[in-house]
């Protein structure tokens, strides 16, 4: 009942190429990209990307929003840790959205951040499916 990550290609260990499927109202947490490059292209629908500053070392306040934009079909975006953190969400209540993501080098853990406090929390990311087969966890 949340967005799904579907692995399409793992480029001989050099990258992960995946398709994300977002239902109406689905969004991600604020997250980093574990020192990797992250490219995103919208294949269907629209996704809102909100950029955040990294919280202060002793983060204990609301995180600072840098900017936000709505990405339309076929638009591309890029982010890495030196640019900042972001939240991606499908703000439509009527249309699902689909996006293509390329991460290089591949990573399966990242940090998620609490917008109210800046506290971070390491998470392991999972795939809903890989190469067309449902991943059972």
């Amino acid at each position: 009942f949340r967005y799904t990550r579907n692995l399409v290609d793992n480029g001989n260990g050099k990258f992960n190429l995946m398709i994300l499927c977002w239902g109406e109202g689905h969004g991600s947490s604020i997250h980093d990209h574990t020192d990797s490059h992250c490219f995103m292209k919208i294949l269907q629908g629209n996704l809102k990307e909100t950029l955040f500053e990294w919280p202060e070392k002793k983060g204990n306040g609301e995180m600072t929003k840098k900017s936000e934009r709505v990405l339309r079909e076929n638009q591309c975006a890029y982010i890495n840790d030196s640019i900042g953190l972001h939240r991606v969400e499908n703000i439509s209540h009527t249309e699902p959205a689909v996006s293509l993501h390329l991460y290089s080098p591949p990573f399966n853990t990242c940090n998620t951040f609490d917008q109210r406090t800046g506290h971070k929390h390491k998470v392991t990311m999972t795939f809903y499916s890989q190469f067309g087969e449902r991943t059972v966890c």
Partner: protein
């Protein structure tokens, strides 16, 4: 809808008329005996005639499983809709709803309910009477509080509450045993410690009522005026397991923070019979008494066990 619809396609099961500018759907729907999915999103429905009259008797009332009316102009849930007794999935996302009718409980087969992106200010406790509800979306509304009865939604797997006006949650939310996902971001959830909210000292009637209940003073309906007999039957038990007391109208509301998975602090509202009472356990846990300071830690570890994908930040 075209007049000959049910004659041309009597076996129709899925009808998608989304994005066609429809302002009403008439009796053509009533004679489609096999229709189980109706998608009518992004239209101009919302006025009278949006749904046909006589729905109650039509086969549609029993056959329809999925109804999507998102992106229309409904300012209230049309009463006719509540006749669709077989409905499993309903979406009214992105409309102009200001509330949810208590009669929503009539849709007793409902598993999926999407009401995101409206102007809803409150949730009726009757929503909790939907026994099969698994997925409830209330994001992007104007909801200020969650009724504690919502904890009775035993089948609930996913609850979306982000972007509302919630400052706290009822502690009963920890009773949602099967809840896997909870989104709470974009709510003005109380972050700092909040002093005990105003406590109005109990009236003499309340004090007398409490004494009768806690000391088990026997009484019979012939001993008291009917109004007082009714009053005594409304006693609520103080949830503090060490207290055993009761309260009627006068209770202390206290926000207690539950540390969630050690990362987030959820402000939960506790009701206690007096300021001297300490905050209670989650009533779903069967464990024995423990000190009040570690109450919130125990509540949290039980809750963390159950809620795996809390999306707070």
């Amino acid at each position: 809808l075209p007049a000959g619809l049910s004659q041309w396609f009597p076996a129709l099961e899925v009808l998608d008329v989304s994005g066609t500018g429809l302002t009403e759907m008439g009796t053509e729907l009533l004679s489609l005996p096999c229709l189980h999915t109706l998608l009518a999103k992004n239209n101009r429905l919302g006025g009278p005639g949006s749904l046909p009259k006589g729905l109650e008797q039509a086969p549609l009332a029993r056959s329809l499983r999925v109804l999507n009316l998102s992106g229309n102009r409904f300012s209230e849930v049309p009463p006719a809709l509540l006749q669709l007794r077989g409905l499993r999935s309903l979406s009214l996302g992105g409309n102009r709803l200001h509330g949810i009718p208590p009669d929503i409980q009539e849709l007793h087969s409902l598993e999926f309910l999407y009401l995101g992106g409206n102007f809803i200010t409150a949730i009726p406790p009757e929503l909790a009477k939907l026994p099969s509800l698994r997925y409830l979306v209330l994001c992007d509304n104007k909801i200020q509080s969650i009724p504690p009865q919502l904890a009775q939604l035993h089948s609930l797997r996913s609850l979306s509450l982000h972007n509302n006006l919630l400052t706290y949650l009822p502690r009963e939310i920890l009773n949602l045993v099967h809840l896997d996902e909870l989104s709470l971001r974009g709510n003005p959830l109380v972050v700092r410690f909040v002093r005990d909210l105003t406590y109005n000292p109990p009236s003499l009637q309340e004090l007398a009522g409490r004494t009768i209940k806690t000391r088990n003073v026997p009484y019979a309906p012939s001993d008291l005026p009917e109004s007082l007999v009714r009053y005594l039957s409304l006693a609520s038990n103080c949830p503090n397991p060490k207290c055993g007391g009761v309260y009627f109208d006068s209770c202390v509301r206290q926000i207690k923070f539950v540390d969630f998975c050690g990362k987030y602090r959820l402000p939960l509202m506790h009701y206690l019979c007096s300021p001297e009472c300490s905050s209670p356990f989650s009533s779903a846990s069967q464990s024995s008494t423990s000190q009040s300071e570690s109450d919130s830690e125990d509540e949290a570890s039980i809750a963390a066990h159950r809620m795996q994908k809390v999306l707070l930040g």
